[in-house]
Symmetry: C2
Amino acid sequence: MNSMNSIFNSLKTAQTQLAMHNRAAKDTALAAAADAIDKDRAGILQANVRDVAKAREGGMKESLVDRLLLNDKRIDGIIEGIDIVIRQEDPVGRVQAGWTIQNGLQIERVTVPLGVAAIIYESRPNVTADCAAIAYKTGCSILLRGSSSALESNKALVKAIKAGLAKGGGIEDAVALCESGSRDEVDVILNARGFIDVVLPRGGGDLIRRVTENARIPVIETGEGNCHIYIEPSADIEQAVQIIINAKLQRPGVCNAVETLLIHKDILAQIMPKAAAALAGKAEMRCDSLSKAAIGTPPAELVLKDVSEEDWGKEFLDNILAVKTVASCDEAVAHINRYGTKHSEAILTNDLKSAEKFRAQVDAACVYVNASTRFTDGGVFGFGAELGISTQKIHARGPMGLDTLTSIKYIVSGNGQIRS
Amino acid sequence: MNSMNSIFNSLKTAQTQLAMHNRAAKDTALAAAADAIDKDRAGILQANVRDVAKAREGGMKESLVDRLLLNDKRIDGIIEGIDIVIRQEDPVGRVQAGWTIQNGLQIERVTVPLGVAAIIYESRPNVTADCAAIAYKTGCSILLRGSSSALESNKALVKAIKAGLAKGGGIEDAVALCESGSRDEVDVILNARGFIDVVLPRGGGDLIRRVTENARIPVIETGEGNCHIYIEPSADIEQAVQIIINAKLQRPGVCNAVETLLIHKDILAQIMPKAAAALAGKAEMRCDSLSKAAIGTPPAELVLKDVSEEDWGKEFLDNILAVKTVASCDEAVAHINRYGTKHSEAILTNDLKSAEKFRAQVDAACVYVNASTRFTDGGVFGFGAELGISTQKIHARGPMGLDTLTSIKYIVSGNGQIRS
């Protein structure tokens, strides 16, 4: 893999240069990259047509083909994504803290670019431009390893981005695309100690597992979301039903959708008939015996099944909702900490002690009180562009904005100090 | 390894409980742990006598036996270490930021305990107490995996700590020691996804490599220090010689000692004879041809050798100093970024542009201008207790204080919000 070594070296050299560019220089280069994409629409769309044709020949499901597809409107979206990054503050060069120690040494803790990042992702070509822009703005080089099914589209996009960066006075070598499409490339990336400072897998569970099991470089996991809503007797019933419907049905295929309801036994009789009526014809319910009995006569259109032990651990990403009866907030917290994926968890209650216990003890990136889990999102949180949602606990947790690709450096200034 | 699984579960349960303890409760428990160590001196010293006897029987070098050895003064030091942790602020429960989005949802970013940490370390028993105290103060459980040579001492210390925590109303199960001494234990820890949130290897290069190559859980590396000092023509010569002496000789066996000097060609003639005179009889110099020639007639006691390519990559941890001639600040930066270990790097100069270039482009945790590299240390920086010095760039970089064992959580409070 000599070609990979030459890419690694080029990314590292480019990053050292980019570290010296100020915000204006980076924004100018990014604007030129967006402009190059705009001007090269025809070429990018032609490349995408080839990817789409090949995918259909290979029998790809139309729902996945749709994720791969580019059109003028989606290219507008890609350009708008770069504009959002341009409008954001520069996350590097911030002095987080500064102090002087007894011997007069001045110590400053300053944010710096993380270095060279790699992202391994699936299908959607917009991720290519989003991640290139986010990395560039933070002063990082980035190695993009997209899906082989999107290779032609990614090549065309990266070609435009690099040409634009160069035209805008930027460092085009700060962006590189893996072009062979071989699986070996991934292994080379995962072992690139000393060259790649962090790797972000962005995709399904299999990809995440492959990366976490094989990486010898730091990883930021963007994992699955097995999210829960726990409902207490003091909750507002009508509000609870609205939140259940929203968290399950508004977009069932995303990581912040709810998968399991935990319902306190003392509110089963009030909530279950209403939840069943609201979900009938829209989602399947998988209930334990108590919650099933509390429905009474199920609505005609309701698909109602018995829940199994395995269901507690599943991210359905579908119109399916598991329901478990619990006797206490403690039991709900224990269930979530056993089966949850540390993503987004909600309690619906009017009991202050329960809310405090849930907030303190549930181990998740985002803990909600009296709201839908669907709000976990970098855009909604106000972070602008988003690299994904981290479900690990070191370095970045929850929606990841630009500052995820920063590290810190201690700048120590003296006038001859030696240690005694 | 069923016993390991039961330890993992017990650590996780204990951590959930400890998350609810406030600072006063944690400090009281820690004070009781320190008191228990104080009262159990005799038992701890007896256990240590057994470790030391066994180590000497096995032919351990006396310098290593000294690291293993406990005595009354060192137990005083262990107790003082716990007192330092007690006096520090609680790093959890800090609201780092808070804002309200358009629909009225309140979002707060709050520091929380990282969870369950594991530390894999060598010989010195004081690390056992230091890390147990730091973890407890941050609300984390900790699994201690010390050296088998210190097993009896560690058992006695952990027994006292756990008894003290219990007596002080704390959670004794938040601290656990691996007691089998088998290497398999390490592999089980490195694969404990879902149980251990972070593992810190603390020891030599072999241990760090073993952990980074095999871990499937997040790692914080505390790596080697191949540190450099780059000297420019505008530097103060006398100051430069003092800094060289200090950075090389004050404690040659530590990670922040200097290993290679990079000297600008235009100052070779002024600095080399003085450096050679100062190091003669104290450290070996390994020079390239230009810097060697600049010494002129070497002092009688100077051990002077030709430097080899391999020397640039070596952390000597010894009274040896490599010397390279460079033609520019750019060349010095490139050498450091190629051979350095991202630890501590210094420039001696009076040139503002060079200082700024060096600060921005050298990729290291701590970058010094006109001072010795020896100051990279949690205590010196004012962080109180220290978990080690991180040479990686994600999560923690440089000296690691208490906040290294924290993560964040988004607390989102609403009154029925759903996503539209």
